[in-house]
């Protein structure tokens, strides 16, 4: 579904950092991939390259066979098929909860009013927040905001969901409710790429774990093999530090 072919990315500001070095990967439909690694390892950059929020300076990413770094590609149609959830939620503060979920359906999908309102109602119910449909984002807790953000991404009927550390900005007692929604999604067969520090989630849900460090994929494999029997010294050190 997504074919990442040897991408490179270097940041020059504030100083030169090699964020991605020769990263290649294949993400299959229905797969749940969890990307872990220490901070600054390039995992977020990798994720953001997948829908061209960052552009790689070398290499290719094919989404359903479409080269997204090709200037001729209409990136908006590609992005419409990929939902993204951010660490800082990024809900639109000037719209209500249902306004947030409605907007892209209206502007991008051009859904008629009735249809998108029905979709919004259904999704807010799914993430367990239908009581707050008319509330403003600023009046919601972090966990509630993140669940709305997930509903907003799902409203586009994406083929793949990208999660960029969705629980890192949350208070500990709210992490559970967000992970619960993500687990439900995974069970429904959604293709997911998830950058996270939640090892429990990775172990329970992931089909494949990718460990990145210094812009390179150090190790990847099934969660069992990855956690019980890591082959790389760097992985062993990282797991020792966080577990």
């Amino acid at each position: 579904m997504i074919d990442v072919i040897s991408i490179y990315k270097t940041f020059y500001v504030p100083h030169e950092v090699k964020a991605l070095v020769d990263v290649s990967n294949k993400i299959k439909a229905g797969e749940v991939v969890v990307v872990i690694g220490p901070s600054g390892s390039g995992k977020s950059t990798f994720l953001r390259c997948l829908n061209r929020l960052e552009t790689a300076e070398r290499g290719q990413i094919l989404v359903d066979g479409v080269d997204i770094f090709d200037p001729k590609t209409n990136i908006n149609t590609v992005r419409a098929e990929m939902g993204m959830v951010f660490q800082s939620f990024n809900l639109y503060p000037h719209l209500t909860v249902q306004g947030n979920v409605n907007l892209a359906q209206k502007l991008v999908r051009k859904r008629p009013k009735k249809e998108r309102e029905e979709k919004t109602r259904m999704l807010l119910e799914k993430v367990g927040i239908s009581a707050k449909a008319k509330a403003w984002p600023s009046n919601l807790s972090g966990g509630q905001q993140q669940r709305v953000a997930i509903a907003r991404a799902l409203a586009m009927d994406p083929k793949i969901m990208l999660f960029d550390e969705p629980t890192s900005a949350l208070d500990p007692e709210m992490i559970g409710e967000v992970l619960e929604v993500m687990k439900t999604l995974a069970k429904e067969g959604m293709t997911m790429v998830c950058v996270t520090h939640e090892m429990g989630f990775a172990r329970e849900v992931a089909d494949r774990v990718i460990f990145m460090d210094e812009g390179m994929v150090v190790e990847e494999g099934t969660p069992e093999k990855f956690y019980k029997n890591p082959s790389h010294d760097r992985t062993k050190l990282f797991l020792k530090q966080i577990l």
Partner: protein, 338 residues
């Protein structure tokens, strides 16, 4: 909010607070009193009672004979009289009330003779007209200023050189020269050439008012561009990422996500800009637009009530700007909860 800014109120005793309030009013009366004393010292005659006529007055209607001739008939017509006058300019009938004329049938009339003279309806005075012109010009210039400012602001943050550089050049050129000079250029340079071109093509020429509005809009627009740019740049980049990653185009993101949020945060500096615009419209008197300031000046040349009219003029500007600032505060409060 206000309680957080200063906790002096909480610390000081009630008596000190009351004394402080009294101090303010003492100062206020001292200023007003000294102004009054100064005018007494120079023997200025205050004539406030004459001021209302600059807002509304009863006009006098005078009917003049149009040529040599005579009064044909004076016939009662309900509670009025029909005076038929035949002169070498033709026959005319005037319908006037009793007591407004002093003729009998057969009287001779000469051109310029007063057939009848009576009080007409209420007419707006020169200050009322000037106020209206100032309001109209400010209102139209505000709308064009906002449009120019938003278009320029969006262009200013784009990555396309043609848009970005145009917006930058616009801002720098307009901010770098005095408004008065710009008004002169708009009227005497642009106005002269444009009116000539319009006339050559058989289109009626534009009033001075429109060149004044153009100058004010363009001037204000340049400042609004910078305000809008600041507002756009203050929006968290995550908002753009969220919008774009859901497949919205640049312009959809700009008009549905960024601008609505930016306009809310820039309301206070925008209000300041448009208060300035109302005040700057006083310069338009220079190109013979009779707005409030020019109207005041003309009122003074006929009445010599210098002190009253200038004070009144200032108060009228204050009323306009204060109303605007109250409206914006109301808008701010209404959008604050979101």
């Amino acid at each position: 909010m206000e309680q957080n800014v200063s906790n002096i109120k909480r610390l000081s005793s009630p008596i000190a607070y009351i004394l402080s309030v009294c101090g303010f009013f003492v100062l206020l009366f001292m200023v007003i009193g000294s102004v009054y004393y100064a005018t007494v010292a120079v023997d200025y005659q205050w004539r406030w009672f004459k001021v209302p006529k600059y807002f509304m007055y009863k006009s006098t209607v005078t009917l003049y004979a149009e040529g040599y001739g005579e009064i044909d008939t004076i016939a009662a017509n309900k509670d009025k009289y029909d005076i038929t006058v035949t002169t070498d300019a033709g026959t005319r009938t005037y319908t006037v009330a009793e007591g407004t004329f002093d003729w009998t049938e057969g009287d001779m009339v000469a051109p310029g003779d007063i057939i009848a003279s009576y009080e007409g309806g209420w007419q707006p005075g020169i200050l009322a007209k000037g106020l209206w012109v100032t309001l109209k010009i400010s209102f139209i210039a505000t709308i064009f200023g906002i449009l120019l400012g938003i278009i320029g602001g969006v262009a200013r943050v784009s990555n396309t050189p043609v848009l970005k550089w145009s917006a930058m050049a616009y801002v720098e050129v307009i901010r770098g020269s005095p408004l008065l000079v710009q008004i002169m250029i708009f009227y005497f340079v642009l106005g002269t050439t444009m009116n000539k071109i319009l006339m050559m093509n058989g289109i009626p020429k534009l009033d001075a008012e429109w060149y004044g509005i153009m100058a004010l809009s363009v001037f204000t627009g340049a400042y609004v561009v910078e305000i809008v740019r600041a507002g756009i740049e203050a929006i968290h980049p995550g908002q753009v990422e969220a919008a774009r990653s859901s497949g919205m185009t640049y312009f959809q993101c700009m008009f549905h996500i960024i601008l609505p949020q930016a306009l809310k945060t820039i309301l206070p500096p925008l209000a300041g800009q448009f208060i300035n615009l109302i005040k700057d419209s006083s310069l338009l008197g220079m190109i013979s637009i009779r707005e409030l300031t020019k109207a005041t000046r003309e009122g003074i040349t006929t009445s010599l009530q210098t002190f009253e009219l200038w004070i009144l003029c200032a108060i009228l500007y204050l009323l306009m700007t204060f109303t605007l600032s109250m409206c914006v505060q109301y808008l701010e409060r209404r959008t604050a909860t979101k």
